[in-house]
Amino acid sequence: MRLDVNKTIQWMQLTNEKMQANKDYLTTLDQPIGDGDHGINMARGFQEVASKLNESTYTNVSDVLKDVAMTLMSKVGGASGPLFGTAFLKLSTKLKGEESVKQDIFGTALTEAVNGLKQRGKAEEGEKTMVDMWAPIAQLFLEDSNVTADTLLSTADSALTKIKEMTATKGRAAYFKDKTVGHQDPGAASTYLIFEALAEVWKGDSER
């Protein structure tokens, strides 16, 4: 896989479409454990991302991702804004100067994003948060020298299934502890959409 400016923009535009389509679903996930606005906030944030990317021109992937990060931070709000903002900011920092991102560098950047999320959210793996979605995907890109759209999707799928059965020990959801088993984490679900979009953009590319 190689990620260039155009593909990064496509990735984010498709993510926006998915956030709009799943707005109510994400909010439903948030209602029992949070304050029920995750879908609304993510849809608003990525709508702004899409507009920002539309009206700007870019020469490298890092700058695209930096604008994504800053827009999410200022438009999503709550806890999700700084968390998703941090993840994309770390990606941007690590990919600085790259016109075309190779898979191994992308894996390193994702690992930085995971570290940023852990630090910001004071979370570790296994606590039923979005870290449990970002971490296995970062690992996939580091360990598998030939990641395909299908392996990315199946990694994301199995992570999502696993997260659903975890008990929340971090974040607002932790207040509800055992009741969270069998309930999907909203942040993990929206992270899934981001990587599902990446897989689809990538697949579309290989079919062309």
């Binding site: 200022s74 806890a79 804004g81 974040g171």
Partner: protein
């Protein structure tokens, strides 16, 4: 919903404009933001003090801007943390070259957004330190936090850290004294009714006519127990006892007392609570250095109150008693 508003989505904008218009010689808005600053900010050579959080807690936080307290307050949407870019603007507006100190209430959103703003400010060469206030003894974790919530006691952190900064103390000294306040302050609240978030249009929760909730947070998040309403004396006793079970206040200690209304409780009732709190403290041989009764950290129009006790030493006493020109906290 019955409220004196224009557009439910514009309440914060409208409030900020009206607030600054009420104190034109004291306050200003940082253009294109929801950041309110001291008219003379940034004060050169002084540590800047910044706080903020969701709106709906008035007079917190902008009411505490003024000589002797905050330099800037950042207003988020109702019950929603301000975003890092907004907080960053507040930090810049407060920076007089000696660094900026952030007073953050312990809510996940506030902590994340303020910390991220601090990192962005540091990247721009501004020194930033912070304290996280967690005075609420009601619950260990809540639906909004990991760890205890920060509630009305935060105002006394503003007061004491503000006085320290006004005295020309360094960023590290302001941090030290703020941490001392946090270590010695405890609060607990109760509610009779819910507030209504304008954009939501209906009360955040329902309590029956004969019910009250003990240990509730300032966003309507659950407390410890929902039970039949008790007398003011019993309510005061329960709140003080829970605080004292958490923090030892030995005989002959000196304390500050804050009886805080949550938005819809008349002063009459707050004073009734206060008389019992004072008599409990007297019975226990604890001296009250200073008492504050009124609305300091509200939850829209929630009916209810909170009690805050701050254990004092000579340093804290002198800082608490120092002058403040903030509109909502004049000493």
């Amino acid at each position: 919903m019955k409220k004196i508003i224009n557009d439910p989505n514009e309440v914060v904008q409208d409030m900020v404009q009206g607030l600054v218009a009420a104190y034109p010689t004291k306050l200003k808005v940082v253009p294109d933001t929801l950041v309110i600053a001291r008219q003379d900010a940034p004060v050169q050579g002084k540590v800047g003090l910044v706080s903020g959080g969701g709106s709906g807690h008035e007079p917190a936080h902008a009411g505490y801007i003024g000589k002797g307290m905050l330099d800037c307050a950042v207003a988020g949407e109702v019950f929603t943390s301000p975003t890092p870019d907004q907080v960053l603007e507040g930090i810049k507006a407060a920076d007089g070259g000696e660094g900026v100190f952030l007073v953050i209430k312990n809510y996940t959103g506030d902590v994340l957004n303020f910390e991220m703003a601090a990192e962005l400010a540091e990247a721009e060469g501004i020194q930033v330190e912070k304290v996280i206030v967690n005075d609420d003894v009601a619950v260990e974790d809540s639906s909004f936090t990991t760890g205890r919530r920060g509630i009305a006691g935060t105002v006394l952190v503003h007061k004491i850290a503000g006085a320290m900064a006004e005295n020309g103390a360094s960023l590290q000294e302001v941090k030290r004294v703020a941490e001392k306040v946090v270590a010695n302050i405890r609060s607990m609240g109760m509610a009779l009714t819910s507030g209504t978030v304008p954009a939501a249009g209906k009360p955040s929760f329902q309590l029956e006519e004969n019910e009250m909730e003990i240990g509730i947070g300032i966003h309507g998040e659950p407390g410890i127990e929902r039970k039949p309403i008790a007398s003011a004396d019993d309510i005061a006793t329960e709140l003080v006892e829970r605080i004292m079970n958490d923090m030892e206040i030995p005989k002959e200690s000196e304390v500050a007392v804050m009886i805080n209304g949550l938005g819809a409780t008349p002063e009459m009732e707050l004073f009734i609570v206060n008389q019992k709190v004072q008599s409990i403290l007297k019975d226990r041989g604890i001296y009250v250095f200073q008492t504050f009764v009124g609305e300091f950290m509200t939850s829209l129009e929630m009916a209810g109150c909170s009690v805050t006790l701050l254990k004092l030493d000579d340093e804290l006493k002198s800082l608490l008693g120092a002058p403040s020109e903030a509109p909502a906290f004049r000493i």
